[in-house]
Symmetry: C2
Subunit: 158 residues, 2 copies
């Protein structure tokens, strides 16, 4: 690449990461895995509207979707916020899922406000997944690969 | 979302998709899967520099990386080009891998030119993965979910 800005320190990366997680109307890439009929691991990947609520990534999706079934089954997912040269990558654990019709009003309203979309309008087939970051990395260019891990074992290390 | 442009037809989506695949200095998200020590499927996800060569997505990465090992083992990956509200999602099959030191000069130069990065400068640990799209989908907003499949069984259907 032509331009190589100086690498950001940990505090700046954390602030930038939180700004991405709190941005309105943004999506997160969510990678999950299942076993094929022949026992091979298969990756799935979709973009979903995101809200950052109580230190967790919240997404809403159809309970019967491939991603929801994978996350229910495995209890985890790998998340990414772009663009690809300014990334945040999160290994997350499912802490709970809530059918949209059973969510607390405050929770649902926080989701709708940040996501610019209210899954309660989609009917009962949708659930919220509450995903807790366990490990989080953030980097822009190759010169930021060093120091990219900002969270380990669900605790910020910066 | 406030604005809901009219959905694009298949021909426009295909042209937009090819423009994304041919864009210089862009990355692709690559999701792959492995089995954990306890036999559970685990998804991995990273961004990698992309080139579009002979109707295949080509990436270069360390042969010992998690993504390379997953793709070698499973022979497939799920790819995404963003941003998340203008996506191309590709289920791809590995057709060949080439250590960077053994690649044809023309191939390596096409990769370097599009990726703005030449993995031959990284030493012998890097390989090219040549990934053939088998199924490709492209959409922007919810009103483009219908008609999002542009390729099936490795053939364009638009």
């Amino acid at each position: 690449m032509a331009s190589r800005p100086e690498p950001r320190d940990g505090a700046v990366r954390k602030a930038d990461t939180l700004a991405k997680l709190e941005a309105r109307g943004e999506d997160v890439w969510i990678a999950s895995a299942s076993l094929s009929a022949t026992g091979e691991p298969v990756a799935h990947l979709v973009p979903l509207s995101l809200a950052w609520i109580d230190e967790c990534v919240v997404v809403a999706l159809e309970a019967r979707s491939q991603t929801a079934r994978n996350v229910f089954e495995q209890g985890r997912a790998r998340l990414a916020l772009g663009p690809t040269r300014d990334v945040v990558i999160i290994d997350a654990a499912l802490v709970r899922s809530v059918p949209v019709g059973e969510a607390a009003a405050d929770f649902a309203e926080r989701y709708a406000k940040q996501a610019d979309w209210d899954p309660r309008s989609e009917g009962d087939a949708y659930v919220y997944l509450v995903l807790q970051p366990r490990r989080l990395q953030a980097w822009r260019e190759a010169n930021e690969l060093r120091g990219r891990t900002l969270m380990r074992d669900a605790s910020w290390v910066v």
